[in-house]
């Protein structure tokens, strides 16, 4: 488990919308897990597989018996983008940053989105292993955590 870090360690400049669990509770366990330094994704008790993003029914077996289960924050770089043009005032002075789409082999290959920690100009290699890095914002209102990646 990673210890909480201060907002000054955040990958992106502060001021973007902060994630909160959806009002219907569909992804509450995910956001609570990130705050504990765990990657916790939706898991189907009907067919024993992960699915992501979360939904009220399993797309494979149509079971409603869905729960959440921890999975290692270890993945494979599936795709990426280096963003240059800011579309939010908070990022006006950010400069280029990297968004990655990460496939999680231990979670039946579901994908999640994060940033790639390190310089924005590092080589981006699809298929390379990436390791999770939690970014905690305990003092924000509301508090939240994000999950980034590094080679």
């Amino acid at each position: 488990m990673n210890s909480p870090t201060t907002p000054s360690d955040s990958y992106l400049l502060p001021g973007l919308p902060k994630p909160v669990a959806s009002r219907d509770g569909l992804d509450t366990a995910y956001w609570d897990g990130l705050r504990d330094g765990r990657l916790c994704l939706q898991f189907c008790n009907g067919c024993g597989k992960f699915q992501w993003g979360p939904e009220w029914v399993c797309h494979r077996c149509h079971s409603f018996d869905l729960t959440y289960k921890d999975t290692p924050a270890e993945g494979i770089l599936y795709s990426h983008q280096r963003v240059w043009h800011p579309v939010h005032p908070a990022l006006a002075d950010q400069g280029p940053y990297v968004i990655v789409l990460v496939e999680l082999p231990a979670a039946d290959g579901v994908r999640i989105v994060g940033n790639l920690v390190g310089g924005p100009h590092q080589e981006l290699v699809i298929g390379a292993p990436v390791h999770g890095v939690f970014e905690h914002h305990p003092d924000d209102e509301p508090a939240f955590s994000l999950l980034h990646w590094k080679f």
Binding site: Q81, P96, I99, R111, I126, P142
Partner: protein, 393 residues
């Protein structure tokens, strides 16, 4: 059992638009532009606006059908339809809905329209400004993934990676669009040609999209008038028949947080074969193509998914020479399209496809009988249609 199809059952008898503006430049409110587009299309077709009896739009158009009907004083509203989905994915889907309505006797004269003033209601290229975000956006926006360009860039990158495609393929699309806009006085980029050097030195928006790979943000409105094939014979121009019009998307295209199984896709893998089946044509029959460019990379995957070339042929097939009217192998986006005519959410592409059938394009391809449109790559649902002349029936 009779064949269930739209082929040859409906026709376009009028097309029109307002003046097109850069975002924020329209002196008129969005709804006023919608009215103007409807009146203009009736004038173009030569019918009384009071005889319009249906409206069909997409992407949650704000110009409510009943308000339009009341404002214009139409006699009898018989059809009001909105295609699900955002982006321009519904451009041909709205046409399909209108064609179905007139083919099945639900209505007689349906206006397909889109009115969009990004300067008045918010620009599509800007992120949300709230303090918090929930739902699927919570899984992307805090990572700085919030604009349409950012939503689609990783699909294109994955496709290019899988098939060894270089950046010049995207450039060819952009250069052809800007080239065609130089012939089109309606185009925002009329008088603003784009050369290779300017493209190459333009700034990145998000890789793999440079500035000139991205659509504009505009204000305006556009409309098409659809009637049954029988009635179309009474109008001044020869009918522009709907040979096929379909919508949808491939397996789990809407899977949240970028989990679509076939990810590097324009969402047409299952839609394209259905369109060809309905229209009873193949790729080699298409005389001219309008393919929606939210971003050039989407056009690239659309053209592959419609079978004009294989993924491995993209680097060779995607050249300015191949895409330019009238001589190219596949003249593409001949009005300038979303990149260089106007981002009228792709309805301008459907209109241009009709003008090619009528011989009224500003970059006319000779002897067009089959004219195809792709609407809204990479979103879901997407849609597509084929227009045909009498000879193509």
């Amino acid at each position: 059992m009779t064949e269930r199809t739209l082929r040859g059952k409906a026709a376009v008898v009028g097309v029109a638009e307002t003046k097109y503006y850069r975002w924020g430049q329209s002196p008129d409110p969005e709804f006023k532009m919608a009215i103007e587009a409807v009146l203009n299309v009736c004038e173009d077709a030569g019918i009384s606006p009071r005889d319009v009896d249906g409206f069909s739009s997409y992407s949650n158009d704000r110009s409510d059908a009943s308000r339009l009907a009341a404002a214009i004083g139409i006699n009898d509203l018989r059809f009001a339809s909105m295609q699900w989905g955002g982006g321009g994915g519904g451009g041909s889907g709205a046409l399909a809905n209108a064609a179905a309505a007139v083919a099945t006797g639900q209505a007689e004269a349906v206006v397909v329209f889109r009115a969009l003033a990004q300067g008045q209601f918010g620009r599509f290229g800007q992120g949300p400004r709230n303090n918090t975000i929930s739902g699927t956006g919570a899984h992307t926006v805090p990572y700085g993934l919030m604009s349409a360009a950012q939503q689609f860039a990783m699909k294109v990158t994955r496709f290019m990676h899988d098939h060894g495609v270089g950046h010049d393929a995207q450039k060819a699309i952009s250069l052809a669009s800007y080239h065609h806009a130089q012939n089109n006085p309606r185009a925002i980029m009329y008088g603003r040609p784009l050369d290779e050097e300017t493209y190459d030195s333009s700034r990145w928006i998000t890789e793999p999209f440079r500035l000139f790979d991205c659509c504009q943000e505009n204000d305006g409105a556009a409309a098409m008038l659809i009637v049954s094939a029988d009635r179309a014979k009474d109008f001044a121009r020869p009918p522009c028949y709907v040979l096929g019009a379909v919508s949808g998307s491939h397996h789990r295209a809407g899977a949240p947080v970028h989990n679509t199984p076939d990810y590097g896709s324009s969402s047409f893998p299952t839609v394209a074969p259905r369109l060809y089946d309905m229209a009873k044509i193949g790729p080699s029959d298409v005389d001219v193509l309008q393919s929606y460019e939210n971003f050039t990379g989407g056009v690239m995957m659309s053209i592959v998914e419609f079978g004009f070339c294989s993924p491995e042929e993209v680097n060779d097939y995607f050249t300015f020479e191949n895409f330019v009217a009238p001589t190219g192998k596949l003249p593409l986006n001949t009005s300038g399209g979303n990149l260089a005519e106007c981002y009228m959410h792709g309805l301008e592409l459907n209109i241009e496809a009709v003008r090619q059938i009528w011989g009224e394009s500003t970059s006319q391809v000779p002897d067009v009988n089959v004219s195809m449109v792709h609407s809204g790559p990479m979103v879901t649902p997407v849609s597509a249609c084929v227009f045909g002349s009498e000879a193509a029936l």
